[in-house]
């Protein structure tokens, strides 16, 4: 049923839980396992290209380490994880990637923002559920 599984992975506790579920599913069902990490922390309206480039280099390095750890964890369980890193809006990138890759299941972590935050801003998880082209599983 779930031939292609995508994990939205940002290194948070919720995302780590989602990755564990994904690895478990891939192992038991023989699914193809992918992850997408979205860099969205570049400074906006900066005054220097160098400032942005340096921030980008740091974010790139952070995500490289993050995805390597995720691949290592999957490999320990005998699963190959194919990782992708994108820049931009988190929800838009994840949903578009799920559409383009024709995934059957999207796994995401539950962040647990405050009620006020979620009422005002809406949560990433809510937006993913609303816009995802495939079934979504939230891990806690």
């Amino acid at each position: 049923m779930f031939r292609k599984v995508l994990v939205a992975y940002d290194g948070s506790d919720g995302a780590k839980a989602a990755l564990r579920v994904g690895v478990g599913l891939a192992k038991s069902l023989g699914s193809e396992l992918h992850s997408i990490s979205v860099e969205e922390h570049l400074p906006h309206y900066a005054v220097s290209v160098g400032e942005i480039q340096e921030a980008k280099d740091r974010v790139d390095e952070y995500f490289r380490i993050l995805t390597k750890e995720a691949r290592d964890q999957a490999a320990l369980n005998g699963v190959e994880l194919q990782t992708a890193i994108r820049q931009g809006h988190e929800v838009e990138m994840i949903v578009n990637y799920a559409k383009e890759g024709a995934f059957d299941l999207l796994l995401a972590g539950y962040h647990g923002h405050s009620r006020i935050f979620e009422r005002v801003m809406g949560s990433t998880a809510q937006s993913i559920i609303r816009l995802s082209p495939c079934s979504v599983l939230l891990a806690k």
Partner: protein
Amino acid sequence: MDNTWFLAALWVGLALVATLFAIWFRISTALSEIVVGTVAQLIIGVAIGGAGLGAQTPWVGFLAGTGAIVLTFLAGAELDPAIFRTKWKEATVVGLAGFFAPFLGSAAIAYYVLGWALMPSWLAGVALSTTSVAVVYAVMLELGFNTTQYGKAILAACFINDLGTVIALGLIFAPFTIRTVVFVGVSAVVFGALPFITPRFFRRYGGRVSELEAKFILLALFGMGGLALWAGSEPVLPAYIIGMVLAGTVGKDHVLIRRLRTLTFGLLTPFYFIRAGSFVSVPALVAAPSVFSILFLAKMVTKMAGVFPSVRVFGHRNGADVYYTLMMSTGLTFGTISALFGLNHGIITSAQYSYLVAAVIGSAVIPTVIANAWFMPRHLLPTPTIEQDEIAARPSDAASS
């Protein structure tokens, strides 16, 4: 405040607060510093009156001025000569259109619509003619356009646009005396000699803990800045051109540029941007918000009138033309530098300065938001494959293992 160290602590404290706001709201530190400077001056001015933040204190002015000069040098040094060589025709045409249309158009609107005097109107034209390479680069990098020919053309055009602004700022208010001739003559010799002298000098004596390179760069910037001031011009003009002529050599020395950036962002530009913000009069903005709106719209409409047709000449269609135009409509660093130049030289009033800075900040934010929401040319976005992602993710595997 007479105690120098208390005053320094106050300014650095404000810089720290601005940095925290920048981190929380994911905006640039500079933008945050301008806003913090405005609010702090308002609060401290009301609380203790008089000079408030002490923005007119000479050493604060020196640090702020040095910040503007070094920041402008870094902006010039960020030019990529290779990109410019491949896109020079498009960059020149679009960049000049992006400068002249808002320069002349905004000046005319300030003069005829707002009823400003001639010199303040010219200053408004200069301040609103800018674009922001850094704001555009952030968007390009985030979307991946920076690797495309389209994105490279936009960035190269931004450099030409800003060069027009800096030259206008440096010359339009100059008195044109024999000093101007000396300044132009010495500048031509220095700008021609620096790309040959500097790399050789650095190879011979550089790479030591004494930071000879930084001292050499500062000497060139201060020397030419002093000459510009002596001639009645503006020190950021030679700073930007020194940056550009050294972009292919010194600009590629990432360690040196990073050290200069640490000095600039750690100490100098906080003084510059907080000081720039402290001169903004909130009561003036509240009293006449329509003036800010007219100036902002003047920039947008005149940029559209100049950039849009010139972009289409080079074959950009299907939203790419509007997106290109909106990117060229941004502004931040040179807009605030121009406005502060006008205020410092008595060309514009405090109220006019406030309207211009507000319009400049508006142009840093609004065009990119509109462009990304409605006009993004998705057909030009690069599409990385999963295989490319794997390759991109692998280098640190080796590094960390």
